[in-house]
């Protein structure tokens, strides 16, 4: 079980928004479904089918739903759960669970739910359901909400970006009797599990006109077996699998957005030799599609957190940091980067890497007693200050050095239904 504080940290760091997001407090107009194909992937002639088989190389844990912790969960949860709005890859705000929105009295936003919105169990989705779901995951948002009627919410926009309602953490769910998957409002529903060897079946809700989804979780090294097994979709960043798929004419390799950046967070006095970093050599250190980190708008969201007025931890003349470069154990790319930094002697000779389990990483990271931490963060965020608040206070006195950007590839068999990509890189399955 992941500690709640850790969940908050990871969720906060994974909060993102699309490029060109609206300024905070600004209410974008509802956009119709875009007719362009900018955000569509794997275009081509569609071969109708009842089932789409999907292979994922990361675990899917129902306990995380609806907040994804990895790319696999992002894909699965995107099919199962809905937020009020969607933000497509171009940053356009699209209706989802909300049919419409507008400016109400006293500059409050009013959001009207879709009249046909229903949970998987057939119950209609009301404004109270939305508020109840938000209270569980983001009490501050919930406090800004008032219920105007069964399908209308009033929202105080102070300090909010409207795009925030596309955050998976604000997906509308309710607990399922007996636990398991939360009951959502998406186009697919499931009660199964995607453990090793077992497939997760996600069935379309009645009237959705979508194919069923069969999800299998495989290891990265077995991804090529999935290709040999003619899986319809494979989300992977394994270079070997990508190279293998390119030899198969039936597959398209669709690189998704550079969605993550590995950063090096070093407390003050850590002894980091920035000149030794040789950033251009870092992509070779990892086993994913990577490039030297570069910001789209000239600056990363974490480059100027001081403007947010975050309280910086006072300088402490205590013992110097341990000469460890710490990473989360399950993140192989973070390990490779940390090893490269040690190989470059960026912290002098004698520094070592230390991989910590997720439960141990969080308090260690908060403590900031090591030379540096390698962490994967979203490249873009709707609210940099909100994300910055999730970081330990020592970060403001230390340094955040972007290392590499990474991205996932979608290997799709030709003839699949339409696939669209949202602001957060989530791939959504279109009609069959």
């Amino acid at each position: 079980m992941i500690p709640s504080s850790h969940r908050v940290l990871l969720a906060g760091l994974l909060v993102a928004a699309c490029r060109g997001a609206a300024p905070r407090g600004e209410l974008p107009p509802p956009a119709a479904a875009p007719s362009d194909t900018t955000c569509l992937v794997a275009t081509g002639r569609i071969t109708p089918r009842d089932t789409v088989t999907v292979a994922l190389t990361e675990p899917v844990d129902p306990m995380h739903a609806p907040v994804p912790y990895n790319g696999a969960e992002r894909f699965v949860f995107a099919q199962l759960y809905e937020t009020l709005i969607r933000v497509d890859c171009q940053g356009r705000v699209l209706p989802a669970l909300a049919r419409s929105w507008g400016q109400g009295a006293a500059d409050r936003w009013t959001v009207t739910l879709r009249s046909d919105a229903r949970f998987w169990d057939g119950a209609p989705v009301t404004a109270r359901d939305v508020l109840a779901a938000w209270r569980v995951r983001d009490a501050s948002i919930a406090q800004a909400v008032t219920i105007l009627d069964d399908r209308t919410l009033g929202i105080d926009p102070s300090g909010l970006s409207f795009q925030r309602f596309a955050d998976p953490a604000l997906a509308v769910t309710k607990s399922a009797p007996g636990g398991g998957w939360p009951i959502g409002t998406g186009d697919h529903w499931t009660t199964g599990a995607a453990a090793a060897g077992d497939a997760l079946w996600a069935s379309p809700v009645p009237g959705a006109a979508l194919p069923a989804i069969k999800v299998t979780v495989t290891t990265a090294s077995d991804a090529r077996d999935a290709i040999d097994g003619n899986v319809d979709l494979l989300l992977t960043s394994d270079p070997a699998a990508l190279e293998y798929a390119r030899t198969r004419s039936g597959y398209q390799d669709v690189p998704l957005e550079w969605d993550h950046t590995y950063v090096l967070l070093a407390p003050a006095g850590s002894g980091l030799d920035v000149g030794a970093l040789r950033l251009e050599s870092l992509p070779q250190a990892v086993h994913v599609d990577a490039r030297p980190a570069q910001a789209d708008d000239g600056q990363f969201w974490f480059a100027d957190l001081k403007r947010c007025g975050l309280p910086a931890e006072p300088a402490s003349p205590t013992v110097p940091p341990r000469r460890r470069v710490v990473y989360e154990q399950a993140d192989r790319d973070a390990r490779d980067l940390a090893a490269r930094l040690v190989g470059l002697a960026a912290f002098g000779r004698g520094a070592v890497v230390a991989g910590l389990a997720r439960t141990a990483f969080e308090p260690t990271f908060r403590g900031g007693t090591d030379a540096a931490y390698v962490l994967r963060v979203r490249r873009r965020t709707v609210d940099a200050c909100a994300a910055g608040r999730q970081l330990p206070a020592w970060v403001l006195r230390g340094s955040i050095t972007p290392l590499i950007d990474t991205r996932t590839h979608l290997l799709a068999r030709r003839g699949l239904p339409r696939l669209s990509v949202d602001w957060d890189g989530a791939v959504r399955l279109g009609a069959r």
């Binding site: 040789r278 190989g343 070592v352």
Partner: protein, 559 residues
């Protein structure tokens, strides 16, 4: 120191000293032998390790040789190494090759010494390390301990170097096996033996030769990043002396237990033996102390066949002889006394009769001269006759006192004392005191004898007082009983008189010896005989000017 204590100490010394000497010797001998054995084992293992290292080195060389062939055949590697394409393949190559060849360390370096692929630390690529292959190439035996790095920690490996040429460029392969705990455990199959590397920079290695048996073999050593020189490390083989110490502790414990047990047994035996000797000797001593000329009824009997039995019997025989001798002595004394008495009686009677005879002669002469002369002569000499007759009567009375009185019966000593005091008490002669014990047992004697004893002693005591301020004290008490269980009554007549000298004391009990004017010299002689006849004992404690104390012990009437 008592005989028992001497026996105990002697036993302890006799038993424990050899045991201690034996234990110390065994302990030292055991330590010497085991240490020598450990030294042999350590030396043997060092030789075996040397052979193992050579074998491992040969194995590494064979694997590097095979790897060279594989690289030479690998066109993808050739292109990556020479043209810079397929960089990921090159970077991952050493890792895969290292696993396939079973090595723990593998560096592939170009002709400038730049790491182009590292198996044990993939992401240290592009680092210049030109000294490593150069130093390994000149290391004795082509092998050295290399302190390499991984991302997580330092890696100590036994490494060799090899090289190959690709496209006219020389590439070196540095491969090795980890000198880790499993490697060292393989070198030291015996759990009591420890093999550990001691690096030149290793300040933590402290070989305690007092606690270990140590042998070391030198191995060339290279530390990456160090100044470029070949140094010397050691493979240290130690055999802990802990087993020996444990064995010593067990032996010590067993020895202490044995010593304690033996000491306990020795003490018990010594105690038993000493009791066999000291107890009868003590009893003999106690009985012997009871012997004096007035107390020769002490018996010494034993059926033991040992020296103590012999001594007991000898003492018994000696006592018997003393008893006979004392009887004979008493008889001789009696006879002497009787003879003296006869002579004295003869003398005294003659002394009494001479005046009478003279008077008779005078009267005869007067009768011849005429009757009137006879009457006148009688009147003249009547007093002489009466005096002589009185003297003879007195003499007879005195001698009559020497006659022993038969007939014994239980007598109350306290009553006899009170009666005597009443009869002989005379305030003009001195003060008479009594300290009479309650519940005294009766004594078995003639009441007249008891009275005569008391009268003589009290009379003598009063006579000995030099002034009226003197004191005579008569005490009665119950004394320690004899062996036969009969009670003994002690009568003490103490005076504050002039006491007696040694010479006077020696003759005090002689007949007719007296220091008193008008004394007969028979009083104490009679007292002694009466006491002895009553089976009692008499002794005197006196000193000149310090008074005298006559102590009479008479046997009680019954148990």
């Amino acid at each position: 120191m008592s005989f028992r204590a001497r026996v105990l100490a002697g036993f302890g010394v006799v038993v424990l000293v050899p045991l201690v000497v034996f234990g110390v010797r065994v302990r030292a001998d055991m330590a010497d032998r085991l240490t020598a054995e450990y030294q042999r084992r350590v030396a043997s293992l060092a030789a075996v390790i040397r052979a193992d290292l050579s074998r491992d080195s040969a194995g590494i060389a064979a694997r590097l040789d095979a790897l060279k062939e594989a690289i030479a055949m690998d066109n993808k590697f050739r292109r990556a190494a020479l043209e810079g394409v397929e960089r990921a393949y090159l970077l991952d190559y050493a890792g895969s090759a290292m696993r396939f060849t079973g090595l723990s360390m593998l560096l592939i370096q170009d002709d400038q010494g730049r790491i182009i692929s590292s198996g044990h630390f993939r992401n240290e690529y592009d680092r210049l390390e030109p000294d490593l292959p150069r130093l390994l190439a000149v290391a004795p035996g082509g092998m050295a301990l290399v302190e390499a790095r991984t991302a997580e920690a330092a890696l100590l490996a036994l490494a060799r170097v090899d090289s190959l040429r690709l496209g006219g460029r020389r590439f070196t392969l540095v491969g090795g096996v980890a000198v880790d705990s499993s490697f060292l455990a393989r070198l030291a199959p015996d759990s009591e033996l420890t093999v550990a590397p001691a690096l030149p920079s290793d300040t933590l290695v402290r070989v305690d030769t007092a606690a270990q048996v140590v042998s070391a073999l030198a191995v060339p050593f290279v530390a990456l990043g160090d100044s470029a020189r070949l140094r010397e490390a050691r493979i240290v083989v130690t055999h802990s002396l802990a087993p020996l110490a444990a064995l010593r502790r067990r032996v010590d414990a067993a020895f202490v237990a044995a010593a304690l047990l033996t000491a306990a047994i020795a003490l018990l035996l010594a105690s038993w033996l000493s009791s066999l000797i000291s107890r009868p000797l003590g009893e003999l001593a106690r009985r012997t102390a009871e012997i004096d000329m007035e107390r020769l009824d002490v018996t010494f009997e034993s059926e033991r066949a040992d020296e103590i039995g012999m001594l007991t019997r000898l003492l018994g025989a000696m006592t018997e002889r003393l008893r006979v001798g004392a009887a004979q002595l008493r008889e001789a004394e009696r006879r002497i006394a009787v003879g003296d008495l006869a002579r004295q009686v003869n003398h005294d009677i003659k002394n009494g009769l001479i005046p009478i005879r003279n008077v008779v002669r005078h009267l005869l002469d007067a009768a011849r001269a005429g009757p009137d002369q006879l009457a006148a002569a009688w009147r003249d000499r009547q007093a002489t006759v009466e005096s002589s007759v009185s003297y003879l009567e007195q003499l007879a009375t005195n001698y009559a006192r020497l006659y022993p009185q038969p007939g014994r019966k239980p007598c109350d000593v306290n009553d006899a004392v009170r009666e005597t005091i009443r009869r002989v008490g005379d305030a003009s002669r001195g003060e008479l005191r009594t300290e009479l014990a309650d519940e005294l047992p009766a004594v078995q004697t003639d009441p007249v004898v008891l009275r005569r004893i008391l009268e003589n002693l009290v009379g003598n005591a009063l006579d000995s007082l030099e002034s009226r301020s003197g004191t005579v004290t008569v005490l009665t008490a119950r004394a320690a009983g004899a062996d036969d269980g009969r009670p003994v009554v002690r009568i003490t007549v103490a005076d504050t008189g002039k006491g007696m000298s040694r010479e006077e004391l020696n003759r005090a009990f002689d007949d007719f010896y007296t220091t008193k004017p008008g004394g007969t010299g028979l009083g104490l002689s009679i007292v002694r005989r009466l006491v002895l006849d009553a089976n009692g004992a008499l002794r005197v404690e006196t000193e000149p000017g310090g008074g005298s104390k006559f102590i009479v012990e008479l046997p009680g009437a019954g148990a």
